[in-house]
Amino acid sequence: MAESIDLTLPRRPWWERIFRAIVYGRLAKAILGRRRPVLIIPVIVLTSVVVAGIAAPWIAPHHPTRGDLRDRLLPPVWGGEQTSLKVVVEGQLDIGAGHRQITLDDARKIQEDAVAGDELGIVTRAGGSTKYLLGTDHLGRDILTRIIYGARISLIMAVLTLMVGGSIGITAGLVAGWYGGWIDELIMRTVDIILALPIILIALVLVVSLGSSFQLIIVILAIAIWPLFSRVTRGEVLRVKDMDYVALARVSGASTLRIMFVHILPGVTNSVIVVATLLVGVIILLEAALSFLGAGVPPPTPAWGSMLAEGRDRIAVAWWISTLSGIAIFLTVLSLNLFGDWLRDALDPKLRHLE
């Protein structure tokens, strides 16, 4: 008599199931009936960043660089007003008692029927309003608008850097992997050296000597990025190179260039796409660090990193400037990482080594 064996897997605790449902989009899977889980949150975040970046001038509620100084340092819409209690006194203000007091004359300007001895609440910071959903900065510029325009900057940076760095890196990787020998040695050692450079300091050196500009930042980011593309491409080329279909192409008389770009390149695309997704996160973080240090795109362009820097000194009075722009960076990069991981598993489970 065979005993029945319990084959059910141990159930995960409820909080973990909810966490997984949200992060890995089990809900979406259930709704859409797809076989692979779609990542709801990362996809929503990335879509909104792309949409915000492209449509910034039409959807942003305010002007990105011109602010209203009368509305400076307003909290987000949920932020309440701050008041401080003051005691109304008659006659001259008693300096020794500190600033908890207010003269009767001044008090009457605020509240007509004030008498000495009253306690009066004075608004020291206005509450948030729906005019500025996420508050304003020290120049009265709308934070939401600047975050939307910041997405545009990050998007342009990422796309251009990927184009420049990606094409250099992929070509170098193809050449290194295909030819091998001293060319491979030369390219890969260059890659090692570039990865060993203190890239931020090199960036500072370049910015000080050439002056900060949009193009320079792209060049710096591309220099930092291309070696990573080369490494992955080369590894994949080595894997594909000895496959039968490449040998067949060679036998049928295809030129080296044709083999490299028509036969090998498509074979390595999967890994390159995965790496590109993960590298966009690296680009955004690096660009943010440069802007934060003041070596990024020159102000008043609303880059996320420079917004963070502007809010740093005012963190005690206006927490929302740094916090919210940081959340924008964090959510975007987190989504890219999650999406990249998912993409890697979805395209080819064997690509796990790219981690």
């Binding site: 090692d192 050296i193 203190p198 300091l201 500072l204 000597s209 660090a289 916090t323 960076i329």
Partner: protein, 301 residues
Amino acid sequence: MRRFLMIIVTLIAVSMIIFIMARVTGDPRVLLLDENASQAQWDRMGEELGLDKPYYHQYLFFMKDVLRGDFGESIKLQEPVMTAIGGRIWPTVQLGGGAFLLALLVGIPLGVLSAVKRGSALDQLGRVIAMVGQAAPSFWLGIMFMFFFAVKLGWVPPSGSDGWNAIILPMVTLAWGGFLAGSLRLMRSAMLDVLDSEYIKLAKAKGVSGRSLIWKHAFRNGLIPPLTLAGVSMPAILTGSITTELVFAWPGMGQLAIQALYTSDYPLLQGLTIMFTLGYCGIALLVDVLYAYIDPRIRYT
């Protein structure tokens, strides 16, 4: 030897970038001489600085100074660059070293435990820590820590380096944003690989169990990938130390670099860049030695 060669080439590459950029910036005589200097003075100065020589010659001149540790005079601070940097080395080493150790002390045990107790709450916690560390800019983490623990709660001073507890926030920031996530993830996956290997199964079959199996048999081999990462992620830590020092006004080399950026103090910046590169290369070499020590199969020739 090969490693050593790489370091030399890296240093040459950095020095060349600096040299070329210095020439792009303009003629150094513009800064050194006043406006109404005569043509003769101008030429004599050029000869002294070797500007009349061809570029490769000038580069050798420059390298000779660099090797002697002479980076010239800081424009804004009015003192030799080496003196200015000298006082800033220790705070940066303190901060970077502390963060590095903290990352290892948290990341490696957590990585091992995550692998051993796969899927547990601890594993989930480790995953969240790693995800945040990889996605959040370290300077943002730093500002948030400063806001909560220094401004709101007042547990530690918000900036500067006075008092023993001033280093806590910058250290945690640098560790979390720099190296913790990587070491945790790598340690976890390396441990999973090792625990799945034949020799561990053999040890298990022989009756070795529990702690001894994990820490004595598996741990040592699992340590190799994170250690490799430690060497590779040094630039990230150094880079992170620049932003972290800016956030917390930590008086190290990073803060000096920012000062040099704001005042366009080129000699100071070039000295710092070379010092940072040297520091990185030294650590990479150290990691290699450690690496060979842990895994005797590796021998460098």
